[in-house]
Amino acid sequence: MHNVTAAVVHILPGVAAAGRVIWNLPKNILILLLMAYRKVISPLYGQVCRFFPSCSAYALEAITVHGAVKGSWLAARRLARCHPWNAGGVDHVPAGHRRWPENRTPRIVVLNNPDKYLAAQTDGEGRAAA
C-alpha cells in the first residue's frame, strides 16, 4: 500500500509535466511558425506594417502572453486593422495574466515594450554604477 502511494507520488510530476507539454503544444507550434516567418519570409518583403509593434511581432507577443486561442484571435483582429486606410501608429498587445520570473521575460515582450524595459534597463545600470 505504502509502495503504491510512493509510486503514484513519483509518477504524478511526470504526468503533470507531460500534460503541460501537451497543453502548451499548440501555443509553442504557433510561436515556432511565427519565429520562422519573421526570420525567413519577412525580410524578403521588408517592412510593410503600419504599426508598432509590427503585425508579426504583435502576433508573437499575443500568443506568448495570451496563449494559442486568444492570441490568435487578437492577431487576426490586428491584421484586419492593418490596411492602407488605417493611419497605423503604436498599438500594443493588451496585458495578460501570465507572469514570468524576473529576467525571464520572453524576448518578444521586452522588444515590443521598449518604453517599459528601457527604463528598467537604465535603472539597473544606475544601480550597478552606484
Binding site: V48, F51, F52, S54, H83, P84, W85, N86
Partner: protein, 323 residues
Amino acid sequence: MDFFETIMFPFKWLVSVIMVGFHEGLTVIGLPAANGWTWTLSIIGLVLVIRAALIPVFVKQIKAQRGMQLLQPDLKKLQDKYKGKTDQLSRQAMAQEQMAMYKKHGTNPFSACLPMLIQMPFFFALFQVLSGISSAKTQGKGIGAMSQEQVIQFDESSIFGAPLSSALLHGGATNVSVVVLSIVMILAMTASQFITQKQIMAKNMSEEAMASPFMRQQKMMLYILPVVFGVGGINFPIGVLIYWTTTNLWTMAQQFFVIRRMPTPGSPAAKALAERRAAKGLPALPILGGKKADAEAEAAAAAAVIEQKGQRVQPQRKNRKKK
C-alpha cells in the same frame, strides 16, 4: 475535401473564372481557342486584373511617401535623439516613436500587411490551378471554373513548341523549347527585378533612407530573389512562369512611372524631375526637390499666406465705415 482545400476553393474558383473569362473574350474576337497564345494572353489578362486591383493601394502608398517630406524635420530630430544608441531596445524605442509620429501626421509610408497577405492565397491558387492542369486532365476533372474540355485544351496548348503545362524538371527537360523558354523567363524575371531594385536604390531613395539598416535587407534581396526565381523557374510549369514574368514586368514598369512622375522627395529622381520642370518653364512642385531650400521656400509661402489672410480683413473695415 480537406480543410486546406476548402479554404483554397473560392480563390481557385476566382482565379480560374478570370482566366476563363479572358479566354472566352479572346475567342469571341477571333483568336483560336485551342492556341497556346490565347491561353498565354488569358494568363496575362489575369495578371493585369490582379495588379490593377492593387493600384489604389499603391497610389495611397506613393502619396504617403510624398507626404513624408513634411515630417523630415521631426524625423531628423528623432534620429539625433537616438544617435549612437545602437542596442536593440533603443532601436525598438525609436521605431515606436517613429510610428507614433506617422500617426500624428496622418501619413504612413508603409503599405500595410493586409494587401500583402491577401495576395498570397491568390498566387497560391493560381499556382494550384496552373500546375494542377495535367493531373486534372488524367483524372478527367475540371479545375475551379475551368471545364474538363478547357483543361484538356490548356494542357495540349503550347507556345514556341513548349506546352504551357510542362516544367523543366518534371518531364520537360527532353523538350528543347521548354528548356529554352524556362531559362529565358528566369533570366527575364531576374533582370527585371535587378533593374527595378537598382532603379529604386540609385534614383529614388533619399539620403536618409540609403543610410538605414533597412537597406541591408534590400541589398540581400537582390541576391536572394534570383535564386528563388531560378529554383522556381525549373520546377514550375511554363504557365506559372508566364504569370510570374508578367507580374515582374508590371512591377518594373510601375516603378519606372513612379520614378519619373512621382519620385521620393530628396532623391536624385526628384531633383531630375525638378530640373525637367524648370527646363520646361513649369513651376516647381512644392513637395519635391531639395531639402533646406525647400523648407525655406515653404516657410516663405506660409508667410505669404498669412499676409494674404491679414489683407483679407480689410474689406470688413470698409463695411464698417459704410455703416
